[in-house]
Symmetry: C2
Subunit: 369 residues, 2 copies
């Protein structure tokens, strides 16, 4: 930090130069984030200074959070469900483990997660001294329910199922896990950080929400397929009384108790998430998701036409293939098993898919011939 | 969520109406947040879509985070210090307790906090099964070092001192706590979420940073006195190797390990924090902070002229008084002990102070006469 400040010209010349060093989403095929929708950006700016950590100062913004939660309650088929916004899937998952651990109240709690679970569970368990029992997945990369059942014991405080896994885009057998959860009296949390904005808008999607008996909570991220600004997460719970386990006194704020994990938290990204859903409506969301799924299928067909085989037919817009390299400037990622992984986010339009396939084809054919 | 979406006109008419229901900062005297600086908003927009949860995709943005950390290392007098950005003080404090608990590695860890500590420590301790030992404060609302020493035992993994307490704006005796920490071999964390942007720019401020032997980490929030956008926190550590205790594998991202608590996290508010410091420079920050302290003094003098006594002379721009009511539309807060609390943030200009004093004087004099 220099003694003298920069002029705005000097400052933004420098910042623009740094911004130009970033990759453009136009060639990013590896991310579950995307360019936010223009109405999200506009709403974010309108609510830029709002702080939902002190909601009594921002009652209008707090109303948007309430309305967003009500929309998800309807979308997930449990109108009486409760919820709150968070900074994203990790915080949502931490919040669930916080109340599960407190409710169970045993000395050595454990949770059951699929091998495909997001790494946020490892962080959360490490922090909270919860044993993480990892269930293998089947050849379709879905959690093996029988194996899950075998790992449950009297210290199990939560079963986690994933709806739209980060690596392979698969959904765990939520109805079977729900039965298991009810039978064992254990909370079932569905990590739908990605799939929670996809599956409700697909015909014949696997069931994952509160319509499935036994599902106790669902995490979904507006800053992924919800086209909202970062950071933006939503945690829905079938019975909002679970949040009472998380209350702390918040003297000197307008509300005297809070159950959120963070203190100061943005109203801007909540307004942005609300704006996208209000603007697109169910029809717009369905069109968006349908387009992404079509592009995913085209990506799979295109790659298979080159002889590069899919690993699995995904439930959401994540395509995976046997390990092959891709030419620059395309940015892809690889799973822990080394498989090629491409996320067909909304910025991965049909034109982008075709451009990638064309570039890939040229480099691949020259490579193998 | 309706089937059909709204037009942008309908949407923003509704959103503006909701925004109008919020209080304006012009009458908020209770918040440690404020209207962000215009360069913060402009930088936020330039980096709106960036995700530091996957820094390899955004190397330019990641550079800004590095440069921000280096500035704080200099400002806090330890050029070799490490650090990272967070979503705010709560996450920073959680991260510290995560590595302290892991490093100490005892069965029943405890931490020592002053009675004036922020409620985030209660959340963090509850979540991590850490006993929170609360040290009383003296008549100046500063932690009693002797009492702290008596509470330390072989299971103590962290001592917390506060630089600029939320309620009374006081700074704990950090040099004495540093000696205690060194003597006992315990980590000393300084929660400077508020004071970390104030004390470095004041003459004769109480010492709180890495120039004090024994200080191991410092939390500071750009979204408070740093005039940045929400959410924006910084955690500085004297020895960045402590972060190694927090690493988890992050397959399918551009970096293969991460120690952050959250996953996806905004680059926008990091760029915003950077922009404000680059634009104001040390001189601009000093002018800002000096103005807030002058207004705090004027607020105290003005209230005492009405016969309303200060509770303490604060180290930072938080003024507290014996309990009295204030007329609407002014928004103030009260401490746990019931004292009136006014935070003289940058939006509380000299004109605002005078307007408040005038309104208060009228209502108070008519009330007591």
């Amino acid at each position: 930090m220099d003694a003298e400040g920069l002029s705005t010209d000097e400052l933004f010349c420098f910042l623009q130069a740094k911004r130009n060093e970033d990759f453009s989403y136009s060639h990013i095929l590896s991310s579950m984030c995307t360019t936010p929708h223009p109405v999200a950006v506009q709403a974010h700016n309108l609510f830029m200074e709002t702080n939902l950590g002190d909601p009594g100062l921002f009652p209008g913004t707090a109303t948007l959070e309430d309305r967003l939660i009500r929309w998800f309650a309807d979308l997930y088929h449990e109108p009486s469900a409760g919820g709150c916004t968070t900074s994203g899937g990790t915080e949502s998952n931490i919040q669930v483990l916080r109340f599960c651990k407190k409710t169970k109240n045993v000395k050595e709690p454990n949770i059951i997660v699929p091998a495909s679970a997001h790494f946020s569970f490892e962080k959360a368990c490490g922090m909270m001294d919860i044993e993480m029992r990892v269930v293998p997945v089947d050849e379709q990369y879905r959690m093996k329910t029988d194996a899950a059942g075998e790992l449950i014991d009297k210290n199990t405080c939560c079963i986690v199922g994933v709806a739209g896994t980060t690596e392979y885009g698969m959904t765990d057998p939520i109805p079977a896990l729900g039965k298991l959860a009810e039978q064992e009296g254990v909370h079932l949390h569905v990590d739908a950080a990605f799939g929670g904005y996809v599956l409700p808008f697909l015909d014949d999607a696997p069931p994952f929400d509160f319509s499935v008996p036994g599902v106790g909570s669902i995490a979904v991220d507006p800053h992924k397929m919800g086209l909202s600004t970062i950071p933006s997460g939503v945690l829905m719970v079938r019975d909002e009384r679970v949040f009472c386990n998380l209350l702390v006194e918040t003297p000197y704020l307008t509300t005297k108790q809070a159950y959120s994990l963070t203190g100061t938290r943005p109203g801007a990204s909540v307004a942005a998430a609300y704006a996208v859903m209000a603007y697109l409506g169910r029809k717009g969301m369905k069109a968006l998701v349908t387009g992404c799924m079509e592009n995913t299928r085209r990506m799979i067909e295109g790659m298979e036409a080159f002889g590069v085989h899919r690993k699995v037919t995904p439930d959401v817009n994540v395509a995976t293939f046997e390990h092959v390299s891709v030419p620059s400037p395309w940015v892809v990622s690889y799973t822990r098993k080394g498989d090629l992984r491409i996320v067909c986010m909304p910025h991965v339009t049909r034109d982008v898919v075709e451009a990638f396939l064309s570039d890939f084809g040229e480099s691949y054919v020259s490579h193998i011939s």
